[in-house]
Each structure stands twice: as structure tokens, then as C-alpha cells.
Symmetry: C2
């Protein structure tokens, strides 16, 4: 098996304070209360697609020990510790340059560490299709989630409805990438039917992505060529252009007709906010979703996460977030969750 999985785990998850903190962010938390953290669930869902020794994690240097603790089967040399956060293009470039050193024919999936997938069987089927496609082609594949609502919090992938090569099997060529839309535009996308959510899950073979970076971002490719030792990494990486893989590669490559998408429906969520967590948690009859020893009286539509607490009693709360961790407690209305960064300061 020459499949490799790259897990991007550098986020700080500030919207979930105090559950998630810069010291211990959400990808390392059992946010669903299922006994596995988000990064562990991310590894779990690739079972059978990739041997354990082919997993890679790119994360902040501060989180290396947490990764080792939570993923003890991960080869230590596959944990890439970023000396600074430079967005996704440098992160992915570094991982792919390193993979190429070990396996020049590697076939690669890049995935965030903090999304959830409710149907891992379907996930494996879709990723298996995409990996089979990129093994035999120089295509760039992004997984496109079939939208269930006019979501304004995600970027979109526009599927090419023209006459160009339609891809293979379920895989379709991408016409363009779209930024997070307004509500009105999101509704048009939903109605049009050929727009998918960009889940940030990418599939390609290692020669395709390194060549694409050399073509579209030769400065980043040159920086990667300079990073031969740990001290090179310390010196060079913090200076690499700070840019997302979407801007650096996906958009120009899509314009060149080189990007494909596999439409998918496997219960994906990026768990980007409390609303999406509430959506994914099992709810009681009054719409409350809770993780921890939580006792609720006359509460409705609350989302509660307090796995460390010995006992939590809530009474008379309607539409609140309650979160407790490490001696920090938050109670706020769900409608005010965009202020959590302010609250945590």
C-alpha cells in the first residue's frame, strides 16, 4: 500500500472555549463524548485504506506530545512540528515533500483533524474511489459534500456542467471554487444542484501536488527544497509564504481544468461551532445535547459539554451553551456564540 494520510492538526479551536483552549485545542478533545478524540476519530475512519506507518500529522510544536499520547502507533518521525502557523499551503507542501523522500509513488489524502463523519463506511468507499483515481492520473481531487441546507459558513465547489471530460465513475471535474456565500447565493447554489461544500479533504499522488506547487507557487516549492535538516525547518518554515492551499493551488489548478471532485454524503461536519456540535450530538426529548454527567430540569435546546465535571445541574435554561473545562466555565446564549472569542480573552 502506498497510500499516505496527512492530518492537519494545527488549529486552536477558539470558538469552543473553554472546552478548547490554545493549550489543548478541540482536535485533541472527545467533543462528541464517544470515548475518542477528534484526531483519533480521524485516524479511525481511514482504517483499511492506509497502514498505520503511513500516517502523518502536521501540527504546532506545542502539540507534539499530545499527538504522541493520543496516537501512540504514529511513527514519531511522521509528526511534523511547525515552528509557526503558516496556513495550509506550507503545511501540506512540507508533508508532501517529506512523503516523497520516503515513497516517490505515494498516493496521498490530506484531511483536517477536527471534522466528524457520521458514516465512516461510506467515507472509506468515497476515499477509496478517489485514491484509485489519483493513483492512475495526475488529477487533484477534492471531496465535495452534497449540501443539505443553504450553509453560509462553508466554501463551495462548483461542478463542471459543460462538455469537458467528466471524470471517472462518480468523480466530476471542478469548474471553480467559491468563497463562503451570502444567504441568497447559498440558496441559489442549493437550487442549482451542482455546488458542493468544500470539506478541505484533498486526494492526489505526491508527484501531482509537488508539481502543482512548483507550477503555481514556485517560491514555496523552493523553500521546501531548502528544508533538509531540522535547523533548516526552524529557519525556513516561519518565512514561507502564508497562504491557504485553496488560493495557492486549488483555484489556479481548477482554472487549468486539473481539479476533480468526488461528491459525497457521509454525514460530514467541520464542527466549526457550537451549532454544528449541537446538530451532531444525540438529543433528549427537549432538544438538549450534553456530554458529561449533566442533569437538566426545564431546559430546552441547550448544548452542554462538561466531561471533566463530577456533576452538573442545570435548571430553567432555554437555548444556552454550557461548557466547563480546567476550572473555566461558560454559560451563554446559543445566539451569542460568535462572541465566545471575546469572552475568552
Amino acid at each position: 500500500m502506498n497510500n499516505h494520510i496527512v492530518i492537519m492538526a494545527g488549529g486552536i479551536g477558539s470558538r469552543f472555549w473553554p472546552l478548547s483552549t490554545p493549550e489543548y485545542p478541540k482536535q485533541f478533545i472527545d467533543i462528541l463524548g464517544c470515548g475518542r478524540t477528534l484526531i483519533q476519530l480521524t485516524v479511525d475512519r481511514f482504517e483499511g485504506l492506509c497502514p498505520k506507518e503511513n500516517f502523518w500529522v502536521v501540527t504546532n510544536a506545542a502539540y507534539v506530545d499530545i499527538v504522541k499520547e493520543q496516537l501512540p502507533d504514529m511513527p514519531a518521525s511522521h509528526i511534523l512540528a511547525e515552528p509557526a502557523a503558516r496556513n495550509t499551503a506550507p503545511c501540506i507542501a512540507w508533508a508532501c515533500w517529506r512523503i516523497r523522500q520516503e515513497d516517490a509513488t505515494a498516493n496521498v489524502v490530506v484531511t483536517p483533524a477536527d471534522a466528524v463523519v457520521m458514516n465512516p463506511v461510506e467515507f472509506r468507499r468515497v476515499l477509496g474511489n478517489a485514491l484509485a483515481f489519483t493513483e492512475k492520473s495526475d488529477a487533484i481531487v477534492t471531496v465535495g459534500i452534497k449540501p443539505s441546507r443553504p450553509e453560509t459558513g462553508y466554501g463551495y465547489v462548483e461542478v463542471d456542467s459543460g462538455k469537458r471530460d467528466a471524470g471517472s465513475g462518480e468523480i466530476r471535474r471542478v469548474a471553480s471554487f467559491k468563497e463562503k456565500p451570502s444567504r441568497e447565493v447559498a440558496e441559489q447554489y442549493l437550487q442549482a444542484g451542482n455546488y458542493l461544500w468544500n470539506a478541505g479533504i484533498f486526494v492526489w499522488n505526491v508527484n501531482t501536488i509537488t508539481a502543482a506547487l512548483s507550477t503555481y507557487k514556485p517560491n514555496i516549492a523552493a523553500d521546501m527544497d531548502r528544508m533538509k535538516t531540522d535547523s533548516d525547518v526552524q529557519e525556513v518554515f516561519p518565512q514561507v509564504e502564508k497562504i491557504s492551499i485553496d488560493y495557492a493551488v486549488m483555484e489556479p489548478a481548477a482554472a487549468d481544468g486539473k481539479v476533480y471532485t468526488h461528491p459525497a454524503d457521509f454525514g460530514w461536519s467541520d464542527l466549526g461551532n457550537w451549532a454544528s456540535l449541537h446538530d451532531k450530538l444525540q438529543k433528549d426529548g427537549a432538544g438538549n445535547g450534553a456530554v458529561g454527567n449533566v442533569h437538566m430540569y426545564e431546559c430546552r435546546d441547550c448544548v452542554v459539554h462538561a466531561e471533566e465535571a463530577e456533576k452538573v445541574v442545570l435548571q430553567g435554561l432555554d437555548g444556552y451553551i454550557v461548557s466547563a473545562k480546567g476550572g473555566r466555565i461558560l454559560v451563554c446564549k446559543r445566539s451569542e456564540e460568535q462572541r465566545i472569542k471575546e469572552f475568552s480573552a
Copy 2:
């Protein structure tokens, strides 16, 4: 100085869960956030009235170590560990029998451990008057708090408005004790002007109280005479009649014209519930009273106690109790505080 202070510290404070628990009840907590626990404040307010070696604490055996820690100047032999809770009459009787062994002329104040007094200077003046009165007489004095509202949560002391000896100085004879009244009756008491709140603070010389117990509760007096060793205490005390000092002594003694009261106004509260704590805490402009590192946004009329928490953020709460301690968290409407025992079960 032959003044002695007996502090009754056996309560479990179940209405303040999780701030107060049976393992660590409210008298041992810094409930006002002032840096001193309630039992420490109780000792503090007698400063100058009584030497440190004349303090006594009667408490449950489970709390002896907490008392030693919080009151390091207290003589260890003056911490009386009840093998079982038998209400206030046996508690007071035991302390007074022990005091009489050390000082047959002792003049004694008995006080709960968990009340607060906002004006300790006035408190000392009142108690000084009462002690001076009982030093020279066989009177039983109870401190009567001038009522500021038609409170239904306290018992009342009826001041004798008849022609009998009116007492000495501010001290007045008591006609009768009254149980917690209905709202209507409480309003009549307030209007009548000669009803005071029974604060459960008693003053007498040791011969007066031991004689009164021998008269009104000879069975309790006989049990006390049998308690000569620790093992006697273990055997006898759990069998002593379980009865309050009010029923055992105060009511029959008042009927015999032997009870006096010192009307007082020193900002007393028994801190019996969250409403009384809210009343005593300093409030912000929106009526919130909080102890701990508590940050409130769009909150009104809340009472919060979370001294252990590193940081608490509350948003959009109107009229709630928020309490956190030892990994337990409570959020409930202030109007529902009578259900806290149920919530803690």
C-alpha cells in the same frame, strides 16, 4: 475574663450545594468572598469580648480537622466532636457542662457558626451589654434582631409590653417565642413593633443554663452528668433526647418569666439561602452579586459563587444562581432555589 463563647458548627448547609456539601459545609466556606470563612468571621467578631482560650466549638466528628485548620488558636480540648447530630439542646448542654468543669463562674455566649454580622462594632456593644447583665443575674438572654421586613423564614421573640420588670438598659423581658409565621402574621409582627427575629444567639452564666436544663429537661441533665470520659460520650450522646434549645429551655423559661432579649440592629443574617447571600453581597449596577473571577455580560440579579474556578463567563442570565465547587456546577433560577436539595441528590 470569665466569658466563654460556644460556636455551634454542626450544620451541613445543604441549601448551598455544590458550594456547601456534607463533606465541607457552609460554615467552613468563605461564602462572602472576603478572605475569611463563616466560622472564622464568627470568632473574629468576638474579639475583645473573650480570650482565645475560652472559645469552644461543638461540631460533627467529621469536621474536627477542618476546625483545627481554620481556627489554629482554638484549644484542641475545646473542640467537642458530636458522635451524632442531636439538635441544639444536647449540643449546648454538653458545651456548658464542660465549661462548668473549667470555670464554675463562666459567663457564656452560644452562637451559630454560619451567620453573618455586617456591623461587628455594634455586635460587640450588644453582646457586652448582655454579658454584663447575665454576670450579675440568673437571666437567660436571647439576642433579638429588629426586623426590617415581614420575614417568614425566621422565628420571632415577643417582647413583653406588660408591667413586669422591663430588664436593664436596652434589655427587655420576653413574653413568648413564636414559630416561623405566615406572611400575614409576619406583617402583623412588623407593624406591632414588639417582635424581634430570633437569631439563635444566647447569653447566660453557666449556672443559669445548667440549672435551667436540670429544671426543664432533667433527662438531658442526667445524661450530661454521665458523660465523664470520651467513651461515655460515644455511648451516651447519640441517645440524648433530640430536641432544640428553643423547645427544651427557651419556651418554658419564657413562660416562667426568666428570658430576656437585647434588641439589636447589627446587619445580621443567618445566610440561610441564596436570597440572603445575594442580599449581603456587594452588587454591580445590574444587581449581580458574585464571588470569584466572574465575568458577566447582559446578566441581571444573579448570585454567583465560584471561588475555585479560574474563570467564569456568564452571558444573558436573568435571576439565576450559579455555583461551582469541587467539579460540581449548578445553574438554576433563583425562584427555584428550594429545589436545590432535590438537584443535589
